[in-house]
Symmetry: C2
C-alpha cells in the first residue's frame, strides 16, 4: 500500500502538495498537478480513509441501527434500499449495524457507530424507550435521528407515523362495509407499532358502540406462520367473524392461507386487511387489502434532515426543525377493499 508520502517523493513534491491536489483545495500549478497525478497513477496510490477521517473528523458515513427482528421480509428491504439510495445521492455511505434483540444491544450499536465517528446516526428502535432515546440525543454531539417513534423532548429528531390512526382507519373501513365481528391479529406486543395498531382497532369499535371481544383478538408475531396459527386458534375456538384485520401483511397472508385451507373463501366469506403494503401484496391474493406504512418516506425524510444538519453545522442549526413530522399511513384500496 503506497502512501501519500511515496507519491510525493515520486512526484518530487511534498505531502502537502499531494494533499492539495487530491482535495482540490488551495492553489497548485497545473504542471505540478500533472506530475502528481502521474505519480499517483504509477504508485497505484489509494487514500487511507481511516487516516483521512481521523484528521478531518468526518467520515461521510451515516450509520443505521435496525433490530434484526426486522430483518425478515419486504419491509426491511424497502427500508435499506431507500436509505442506501438516498444517502448515495448525497455522496455518503450507509453503515448498517445490527441492533439485535434487546435495548442493551441497541445501545451498543449506537455506541459503536459513535466510536467509529460516523457523521450521523439513524435509529429504527425496537427496544429502547423514547426517554432513553431523548437522553442519547443529548449525549452525542452528532446528529441522531429516530424513525418510527414520537420523542417527547427532541421532536425535531424523530419521524413517525400514526399507527393508531391507521388501525382506526382500517377498522372503520370494515365497519362501513357492514362487518360487526372483526377479528384482530396483533403483532408482537412488545412493539409500540403493534400496540398502537391494536388501540386504533379498539377505538374504532368503541366509537360506533361495538363491543370489544377479547376472544377475537389473537396475538401474532409478525410472521406468516403466526398469522396462520392465529386463524387456527380462532377456528378451533369456534369464533364467528366476517373480517380479519392483521397487523401486517405477512400475517394476513398466513391467515388467508389457513382460511382457504378451511374452505372459507376470501373475501367472499371473510374479508382480510393487512398493513405495510408489501410490493407483492397485490399479486398474492386478489382479496388482500393493505394499509401502507410509509417506511421509505420516513427514511428518506430523516436522511434529508441529517444531511442538512451536517451541511448547516449541527449545533448551530439544531433548532431549525421545530415541527413534528407525522406521516399518515394511507389505506390502499386494493382491487377489492371489502
Amino acid at each position: 500500500m503506497s502512501t501519500m508520502q511515496e507519491v510525493a517523493n515520486k512526484a518530487g513534491v511534498s505531502k502537502a502538495t499531494v494533499s492539495r491536489v487530491l482535495s482540490g483545495k488551495g492553489y497548485v500549478s497545473q504542471e505540478t498537478k500533472d506530475q502528481v497525478f502521474k505519480a499517483i497513477e504509477e504508485a497505484g496510490y489509494r487514500p487511507n480513509l481511516l487516516a483521512r477521517n481521523l484528521a478531518t473528523s468526518k467520515s461521510m458515513c451515516i450509520g443505521l441501527v435496525v433490530t434484526n427482528t426486522l430483518y425478515n421480509g419486504n419491509y426491511f428491504s424497502e427500508l435499506i434500499s431507500q436509505a442506501a439510495k438516498k444517502l448515495d445521492a448525497n455522496g455518503r455511505q450507509l453503515i448498517l449495524v445490527d441492533g439485535k434483540h434487546s435495548a442493551e444491544e441497541e445501545r451498543e450499536a449506537i455506541q459503536f457507530l459513535h466510536d467509529l465517528r460516523c457523521d450521523g446516526i439513524i435509529i429504527y428502535p425496537r427496544f429502547l424507550s423514547v426517554d432513553e432515546m431523548d437522553d442519547i440525543i443529548d449525549k452525542y454531539n452528532k446528529p441522531v435521528m429516530v424513525v418510527n417513534r414520537k420523542l417527547r423532548k427532541h421532536q425535531s429528531h424523530c419521524i413517525y407515523c400514526d399507527h393508531k390512526g391507521s388501525g382506526l382507519q382500517a377498522t372503520n373501513a370494515l365497519i362501513e362495509r357492514g362487518h360487526r365481528n372483526i377479528a384482530f391479529i396483533t403483532g408482537s406486543m412488545d412493539s409500540p407499532t403493534a400496540i398502537e395498531r391494536l388501540s386504533g382497532y379498539k377505538e374504532a369499535l368503541t366509537a360506533v358502540g361495538l363491543p370489544i371481544n377479547d376472544a377475537l383478538i389473537i396475538s401474532g408475531k409478525w410472521s406468516a406462520a403466526s398469522g396462520a396459527a392465529a386463524v387456527e386458534a380462532l377456528l378451533a375456538a369456534g369464533q364467528t367473524f366476517s373480517a380479519i384485520l392483521a397487523s401486517n401483511d405477512e400475517m394476513a397472508i398466513g391467515a388467508m392461507k389457513k382460511l382457504n385451507d378451511a374452505g372459507i373463501a376470501v373475501p367472499a366469506d371473510v374479508s382480510v386487511i393487512g398493513f405495510d403494503n408489501i410490493p407483492t401484496a397485490p399479486f398474492l391474493i386478489p382479496a388482500l387489502s393493505s394499509v401502507k406504512d410509509p417506511v421509505s418516506d420516513m427514511v428518506s425524510e430523516v436522511i434529508s434532515q441529517i444531511i442538512s444538519m451536517l451541511d448547516g453545522g449541527y449545533l448551530s442549526e439544531q433548532n431549525k426543525f421545530v415541527s413534528e413530522l407525522i406521516l399518515r399511513e394511507s389505506v390502499t384500496s386494493g382491487p377489492d377493499l371489502p
Copy 2:
C-alpha cells in the same frame, strides 16, 4: 470527547498504560487498573475507533457489496440477516455497501471498502465478470470472497450453487408428472443465475427428447409484476401449456395471480414452480412449489472462511482452501408438488 491522554492524566499514569488496561495486553498492576477504570468512568471516555484502526490496521469490520437490484424482497433480507448474525457471532461488524447497478459501481464499492481498511470483503456480484473478480482478488491483500459465482482462478475464494442443476431438477419434476408443454419465465438475462436456470430447463427438455419451444420462454425481470406480464403475454399469444417454471418466487406469484384472474386454476389446470423458496412461499398459494436457493448457507460459509483466513494470517494460509464449494439447491416439495 475525552481522549486517552485525558484519562491518563486523570489517573496519573501514561497513555500507554491506559492503552494496556483497555487492550488487556501487557502487565499492569491491579491498583493502577482500578485507577484507570475509575478515570475512564469519570471522563466518560470512549475509544476513537478511527485512531485505533489506523494504528493497528485492523478494523473488525467486514464489508459486503450487493447490487441494489437485489435489494427488494426476501432473498435480500435473508442474505443480510445471515451475514449480520454470523459476523456478530464472531465479534465483527458488517458494513453494507451498495453495488448499485453497474460493473463500475461494483468496482467502486469494493475500492471504498478497501480504502476504509476493512478486514475482509464479501461480494455478491451482479455485473462484474468472473475474470475481473479474479483480478481483484489478486490485487488486494485482504481476503476477498465471492458469493454465487464460480471463479476460474481463485476457486477457494468463491462459493456458488448449481443453478443449472436445479433448473434441470425442477423441469424434470414437471416432466415426470407428465407435463409436456412447460413454459419458462426467465429472470433478467444479464444475470448469470437467470441464464443458468434457463439452460437447465432447456437441457432437461432436450434430454428426454422434448422440443424447446421459444414461444414458451418469456423473459421476466425477477419482479412479481414481470411474472404477471409474462403470463399475460403467453395467454395473449394463445400458447398452450400445462406448467410454468418461473426463475424466482416473486415471478411465480405474479404468474399465478394472472392465471387465477384468467380463470385458470393452479395447480388444477396449470402447475407452477418458482425458485428461492422465500419464507412466506408456502403460505402464498397452496399450489406454489419452490426450489430453495441456499443463500444463507453460502453467506455463512463465506464468512467462516474469511474469519479463518484472518485468524490464521491471510497470506500464509491462502492456499488452505483448495476444494470448490458447491452447494446444491434442493427442490422443496411443497404441500403439492405437481
